[in-house]
């Protein structure tokens, strides 16, 4: 099977026409996951028995109307799948096995998707390189000496290397779009409240959202269509109708207005990345879209705002890991507080501790107004910038990341330099708007570059339409060095 055939619709068509079976598709995917895991470390658990059983049941049930019937999918290991592990890339969850399915998982199962395993990630989704996983870093399929991005690096690498056509990740500040960009695939962060977070382990609750990886916009549309919508188990899901994203994905670019915030194309942006992203914007002009200059005057403050709000919320959310109800407990503590402290010291890695402490500091008495309240106010200004910009344009185009994938170990000693990777992505999380990253070429060294489109609340149909139009005009069919396609 060729690269362009590893997608939801091709696989569905082959299963429907009985050219293959769900079991054969899933077996291929499992074999690729097992074979490539020594190289990529993308999976923390591969559920061979469960996946094959499920695929067999789907085959036995016969021709299916389910949109994802027999399609293998990988799930980030901070989303609960009943019976499988949920480690969040942390030692503190020990051998935790989820006793229930996340709502997104329930909906994927109902659509016929087959979960083949749980993917590696930065501990509690805190990181931009996947090097903060307690179980070792994921490696980039384009160059295994480089990071895949993070925090959803395992899901991104699994799709990029052709193991699965689709995967779920999660975003707090760019953890789907950034690894999608560094791995040469598409990644969507939906509007806040679009996909239920019931069963997603909490990090920064006013920012967190489940996101979707695919090689193309059509596959992301298929997954979004079945996972989106109101869920009584998550009070932040909004009562907004779920469109038929696939039915709406074709469309004219004439009349579309793409906003470009020129001030974000300056300092700190790699020259090659800038040139490729500007080339992508030119493609929209050629397709008939209007390119308009816009301003996001407060976007430059996003990292400062993000690292106050996200760490404050994390320090509160991660208070629950105390060695009492689940997961790891430190030995040899003879009183309760000592047990809490030792469990958390031995269970959490350095980045998680750093963020818990930073969050505790910005919320502490005497500093709350100076840091936390201030950040909430600047968050309002960032939101207002977007609301104003969307009066002038339908979507905003920027780079997804300031550079191509960096080397493993390159930024591990400098947390602030690592945080600056999120400079183009975390504004969308702070504003609650959707964003998608789409591959737009390779650097001279052969590493993928992505560009980002952000839209107004609930504008996923437009973003997917724009992404699809770009893919049709400039198909990205380059293949990473580590690739599973030969097996299909």
């Amino acid at each position: 099977m060729t690269l362009s055939e590893i997608n939801v619709e091709s696989l569905r068509a082959k299963i429907s026409r009985r050219e293959t079976t769900a079991r054969a598709v899933v077996e291929t995917s499992l074999a690729a996951a097992e074979e490539l895991n020594d190289t990529l470390n993308a999976f923390l658990q591969i559920d061979r028995a469960g996946a094959l059983q499920r695929a067999g049941e789907l085959d036995a049930a016969g021709d299916s109307e389910q949109p994802l019937a027999g399609i293998p999918i990988a799930i980030k290991d901070n989303i609960c799948v009943r019976g499988l592990q949920t480690s969040c890339g942390s030692r503190i969850l020990g051998p935790y096995h989820a006793p229930y399915d996340a709502t997104a998982i329930e909906r994927l199962n109902a659509a016929g998707a087959v979960i083949i395993g749980k993917t590696n990630c930065d501990e509690f989704a805190m990181g931009s390189s996947n090097e903060n996983s307690a179980f070792g870093p994921v490696r980039n399929p384009w160059d295994t000496s480089r990071v895949p991005g993070g925090s959803s690096g395992g899901s991104a690498a699994a799709v990029a290397s052709g193991i699965v056509p689709i995967a779920l990740g999660s975003e707090t500040g760019g953890s789907v779009r950034q690894p999608a960009s560094l791995c040469g695939i598409a990644g969507l962060k939906p509007t806040y409240g679009r996909i239920s977070r019931y069963g997603l382990v909490a990090f920064g609750s006013s920012l967190d959202q489940i996101g979707i990886f695919g090689r193309r916009a059509r596959d992301i549309a298929a997954v979004l269509g079945v996972t989106a919508g109101r869920d009584p188990h998550d009070s932040t899901t909004a009562d907004v109708a779920v469109p038929d994203y696939l039915a709406e994905i074709e469309g004219e670019m004439k009349g579309a207005r793409i906003g470009v915030p020129r001030e974000l194309f300056g300092e700190g942006l790699d020259e090659e990345v800038r040139a490729l992203v500007e080339g992508a914007i030119e493609v929209y002009r050629e397709l008939g879209a209007e390119i308009v200059d816009i301003e996001l005057p407060h976007a430059k403050y996003c990292i400062a705002v993000y690292y106050i709000i996200a760490t404050a919320e994390a320090s509160s959310n991660l208070a629950r890991y105390d060695g009492v109800r689940y997961g790891f407990r430190a030995e040899e503590a003879d009183e309760l507080r000592q047990m809490y402290r030792r469990t958390r010291d031995e269970g959490f890695g350095p980045e998680v501790k750093r963020r818990i402490m930073l969050g505790t500091y910005v919320l502490s008495s005497g500093y709350y107004d100076a840091y936390y309240r201030k950040a909430q106010q600047v968050r309002t200004l960032i939101k207002q910038d977007f609301l104003r910009a969307f009066e002038q344009c339908d979507a905003i185009a920027t780079p997804t990341t300031p550079s191509v994938a960096f080397l493993l170990g390159e930024k591990t000693d400098d947390p602030l330099a690592m945080y600056l990777n999120d400079i183009y992505t975390c504004t969308a999380n702070l504003a609650g708007i959707p964003g998608i990253s789409i591959p737009c070429g390779l650097s001279v060294e052969g590493l993928p570059v992505g560009f980002q489109l952000m839209g107004a609340y609930w504008s996923e149909p437009q973003l997917l339409r724009l992404a699809h139009a770009y893919e049709e005009a400039r198909p990205f069919n380059a293949r990473p060095r580590v690739f599973a396609a030969a097996r299909h």
Partner: protein
């Protein structure tokens, strides 16, 4: 005011983290650098700006998230205890509190 090692020790205590002296030494300049970076926000006058207190969209704000207060099935005692590091007689056992 620059962050000192004793500030870091105090924050760690508030966060129920028992950090080692080596961690304290490593974290102090890192957290100080991040705090210095976020202080760039002080350049902005936000005296008349309402803080954003959550992530909801206007449609999310309007969504009725309430349900009737009726008991619904839950995990149950056995499943809830299955993942506990030290379950005992239907409870979570912990070291002595006092």
């Amino acid at each position: 005011m620059p962050i000192t090692e004793s500030d870091i020790e105090k924050i760690a205590q508030l966060a129920h983290l028992e950090i080692t002296p080596e961690e304290r030494q490593a974290f102090t300049p890192q957290i100080a650098e991040i705090v210095a970076y976020v202080e760039q926000l002080n350049a902005l006058d936000t005296s008349s700006v309402e803080p954003s207190t959550g992530g909801l969209t206007p449609e999310g704000e309007r969504t009725d998230a309430w349900r009737d207060d009726e008991a619904q099935p839950s995990l149950g005692q056995k499943v809830a205890l299955d993942e506990a590091p030290d379950p005992a007689s239907g409870h979570f056992r912990v070291p002595k509190v006092l």
